[in-house]
């Protein structure tokens, strides 16, 4: 028995199905009379089927020859069945491989999965015995009859011929042939509501196997874009930096080290999330530790950023972070409000005599001022980078040594790991019922916005003149 290689039905060009070639090579090996899977004559109902193989033999062969363990071999053999290389003799509609004594055979591809052939097949079954078609098959048959009406005589004639040819065969051959044909069509015309492996999704727009027309612009683009070479460093240094990152975060990865007090998904208790909300009063020790890993970690955790702001307030240098945040808001904000935001930032932070003036070098200031002639969202990029590096290299390290940080480290709680009891089904059910829903993020967001507005109003630049005027008035 051989497998014809036009099984991929014209999808040969599609790389995503090129894996089938490897699968085919394996199946050919499996069919080898000496080293392949041993087939025997097995009794099915009353007929003897030749070359039948059992599920467990298939799995055993794959485990041995493809160097896989049992579960993987089972999954792989299920793929073989799903793609139609092997078909089940019993329970033909379920395309899974059962690793027991269930019988299978190698498929022989004699058909093309075209509608004409399918119509002939259905017509043939109809001739044999009326009403033998399943509901979905009947529907398909009616559909095909409708739009292949012009060919219908040809189809019926072919069906009759095949039917008579089939009758002339011996009983065993006939059963085998029918099984094969039926299995083939289960794979290529799957019943509705089943998952078919032949489904590969959408066609991709551009066929990547078609050689890209290498015209002048293809090369020109390479020449133009190849010129920036980037920042290469020695592999050892880079590999070490990847490893260093992993080791630093190892204890924080819930897949490597259990999170404390307990993983909410395992235990149906969300105390872990309760203890780590963005605005929690007292953070956990792990969280505080994480702030010390990098400035980015500190800023991306809202609680960490709040703590950093407390420190900055004590140092009277809150304007750097405020500027950075405002520039971020400009960068990621809507296009409509961009120019007025840029104006506002300039007036508040950069203009000479500004209420929250930040200290940047002359060159950066010059670039920024020039850019502001035509404001765009990245106009403060240079200044923002400068300020960020300043905070990262200086302020951040002072923060880590400051009493503010040391205090929060002391205050931070270390929840004890909780033992939990997964006893009987009833307990599990109760846990499931006790799952608490959380506050909708929409509400959380609205609250945050309100608080921000309040804070902005409170932190607005103090107008000295007004203040003096009000004092004079009171006098």
């Amino acid at each position: 028995m051989t497998i014809r290689s036009d099984r991929d039905h014209g999808q040969r060009c599609r790389p995503r199905m090129s894996c089938l070639k490897k699968v085919e090579a394996t199946v050919v090996q499996m069919q080898d009379p000496s080293t392949g899977v041993k087939g025997t004559n097995q009794k099915l109902n009353i007929t003897t089927i030749p070359h039948a193989i059992t599920g467990q033999d298939i799995v055993a062969w794959i485990t041995k020859n493809m160097n896989m363990d049992n579960d993987e071999a089972q999954a792989f053999s299920t793929m073989l069945v799903a793609f139609g290389y092997i078909y089940p003799l019993q329970d033909h509609k379920k395309l899974v491989l059962r690793p027991d004594g269930s019988l299978y055979r190698f498929q022989v591809n004699k058909w093309k999965a075209e509608d004409t052939d399918y119509a002939i097949y259905l017509a043939k079954r109809n001739i044999r015995k009326k009403g033998v078609l399943d509901a979905y098959e009947q529907e398909e048959y009616n559909k095909l009859h409708k739009w292949m009406n012009h060919k219908w005589d040809f189809i019926v004639m072919q069906a009759k011929e095949q039917y008579h040819a089939g009758k002339a065969r011996q009983k065993a051959d006939r059963v085998v042939f029918d099984c094969q044909e039926r299995a083939y069509w289960i794979v290529h015309r799957p019943p509705p509501q089943t998952h078919s492996a032949m489904d590969y999704g959408l066609d991709r727009h551009i066929d990547p196997n078609v050689e890209e027309k290498k015209t002048y612009d293809y090369y020109k683009r390479i020449v133009i874009y190849m010129c920036f070479m980037g920042f290469c460093s020695k592999s050892l240094f880079l590999a070490c930096s990847l490893v260093k990152y992993m080791m630093t975060f190892k204890n924080h990865d819930p897949f490597l080290v259990p999170c404390l007090p307990r993983n909410p998904w395992q235990t149906d208790h969300d105390s872990y999330w309760e203890l780590n909300t963005p605005d929690v009063e007292v953070p956990t020790k792990m969280r505080v530790e994480r702030w010390s890993f990098s400035f980015y970690e500190l800023l991306s955790d809202p609680r960490g950023r709040a703590d950093f702001k407390v420190f900055l307030k004590k140092e009277f240098s809150g304007e750097n972070l405020a500027f950075w945040e405002a520039a971020e808001e400009l960068k990621w904000g809507t296009a409509a409000s961009m120019s007025e935001k840029a104006e506002h930032i300039f007036k508040t932070f950069l203009a000479p005599g500004a209420p929250r003036w930040i200290n940047i070098d002359g060159r950066t200031m010059g670039l920024t001022v020039k850019g502001l002639e035509h404001p765009h969202r990245y106009v403060f990029d240079a200044a923002q980078t400068h300020i960020f590096m300043l905070m990262k290299k200086d302020t951040f390290y002072r923060y880590l040594k400051s009493p503010v940080y040391k205090e929060i480290q002391k205050k931070a709680i270390s929840p004890a790991p909780q033992f939990f009891c997964i006893c009987i089904e009833a307990q599990l059910q109760q846990n499931m019922r006790n799952r608490r829903p959380s506050v909708s993020p929409i509400i959380t967001w609205q609250k945050e916005q309100e608080e921000k507005a309040k804070a902005a109003a409170a932190a607005g630049p103090i107008d000295i003149k007004k203040l003096m005027a009000s004092k004079l008035d009171r006098k």
Binding site: H205, P208, K234, S235, S241, Y245, L299, P441
Partner: protein
């Protein structure tokens, strides 16, 4: 932590069209020029200059390529797994499915987590987009898109909106509402317009901007409020299937992978293709940054996943096995970056040790191909969506003590243990 590399951007009048735009700094015949991205594209298409033929251009590009390879080879002295030899190996992992979310009538194509670590938005082939509270498995919102094959969906950082798109060539943003009966489709905003299907979308650091990638070979950055195109990214020669934003403090770059086997790194401000990697043998289905932002992983139809280091400018690891034949459709890292979860078209999920390059676990359970794998924002669980209409949430099953005490078994949270009864 290692310094993030800052790409300086210049903004100003383009040397060619004199408009004020973000400029790409490139060199032409060793002369630095400052052109905007549109003018660069035009220049590439202008036709052969005097004295140039296709052959001279081809020769020039070949010499540049070999030069680049030589430079890279000079700095390559050690492989990642060699450095990782001294690190202790991971124990055997046993992962358990914690939740199965059933509700889609058709293939689940895309899944995204909300920043609150428990909500998920998922989209499917029949046009349905559902927002779940995965912890309680309740469905919170549902939208029916007017098109099928919704391949892209994303949760907004604020948690107040979702974006989705697919065969309609558009990306639409739906603001979520607290009122259960409200028809979300009424407030829908059409943001992106492509000329072919939308394969992937992602919000940037705020709700106001969306980055999309499309089957027409381009990526684009859009302003949500006005629907205006802020920047477009040209460079792929086939469908772009996936994109991912860099988790760095600057947040200015993203990586995209496409059917032309290339993974490109882009600067969002200028539209410039900063780096390009072409070592895969087939379509790249999925790209994901390493948590530090210094590297990224890709999953491809050639049944391998690869790790590329941005500073080394080369591929540093390849995750493959003889026995894995079917393509990887989706990849994601665990929080520390030690584990790489990859969903494959043979219905399985393989978990790789990123440093050592070995497989630590293989997960079964889906009845059709795994289309998407996403780790939750705090790393406590990961979610896998499949074409069998369900998606499962799994996380680690820790050392369940191997004794039974009067029919109860007590779980103790230690490090992962070898096996479980």
């Amino acid at each position: 932590m290692c310094d993030q590399t800052f790409l300086a951007i210049t903004f100003g009048p383009c040397d060619n069209c004199s408009q004020n735009k973000p400029l790409m700094n490139i060199y032409l015949k060793n002369e630095p020029i400052n052109y905007c991205s549109l003018c660069v594209e035009l220049m590439a298409c202008q036709g052969l200059a005097k004295g140039e033929t296709i052959h001279t251009l081809k020769a020039e590009s070949e010499t540049l390529k070999t030069k680049l390879e030589e430079e890279r080879a000079k700095l390559h002295d050690v492989e990642l797994h060699q450095v990782a030899e001294k690190i202790e190996a991971l124990g055997q992992f046993v992962m358990k499915t914690r939740r199965t979310l059933k509700g889609h009538g058709n293939k689940v194509l895309c899944v995204d987590w909300c920043r609150d670590k428990r909500r998920i938005v998922s989209s499917s082939q029949d046009g349905k987009v559902i927002v779940w509270d995965a912890y309680t498995t309740n469905k919170e919102h549902a939208v029916t898109m007017p098109c099928t094959w919704v391949m892209a969906c994303a949760y907004a950082p604020s948690g107040c909106a979702v974006a989705c798109g697919g065969l309609d060539n558009k990306c639409s943003v739906y603001p979520l509402s607290l009122d259960k009966n409200e028809n979300l489709a009424a407030k829908k905003k059409s943001v992106a317009m492509h000329t072919n299907y939308l394969s992937s979308c992602s919000f940037t650091n705020s709700d106001m901007q969306i980055l999309t990638s499309s089957g027409d070979g381009t990526c684009a950055l859009w302003d949500v409020e006005s629907g205006q195109l802020l920047q477009s990214f040209h460079g792929h020669s086939a469908d772009v299937l996936s994109l991912n934003l860099a988790p760095s403090e600057t947040g200015n770059t993203f990586v995209s992978g496409g059917c032309d086997k290339k993974a490109n790194v882009w600067d969002m401000r200028s539209g410039q293709n900063v780096q390009s990697f072409e070592t895969h043998e087939s379509d790249i289905n999925s790209v994901k940054y390493y948590p530090s932002g210094d590297a990224f992983a890709t999953g491809s139809d050639d049944a391998t996943c690869r790790l590329y280091d941005l500073r080394a400018d080369r591929e540093v690891a390849i995750y493959s096995k003889e026995s894995i034949i079917f393509g990887a459709s989706s990849v994601d890292f665990s929080l520390s970056g030690r584990l790489l979860f990859a969903g494959y078209n043979d219905y399985t999920i393989n978990v790789w040790d990123v440093l050592k390059g070995t497989r630590v676990a293989i997960l079964f359970g889906h009845e059709n191909r795994v289309s998407t794998v996403r780790v939750s924002p705090d790393g406590t669980a990961f979610c896998s969506g499949s074409w069998d209409n369900t998606f499962d949430l799994r996380n680690i099953l820790y050392g369940f003590a191997l004794y039974w005490h009067q029919g109860l078994y007590i779980g103790v949270l230690h490090h992962p243990v070898m096996s479980v009864p």
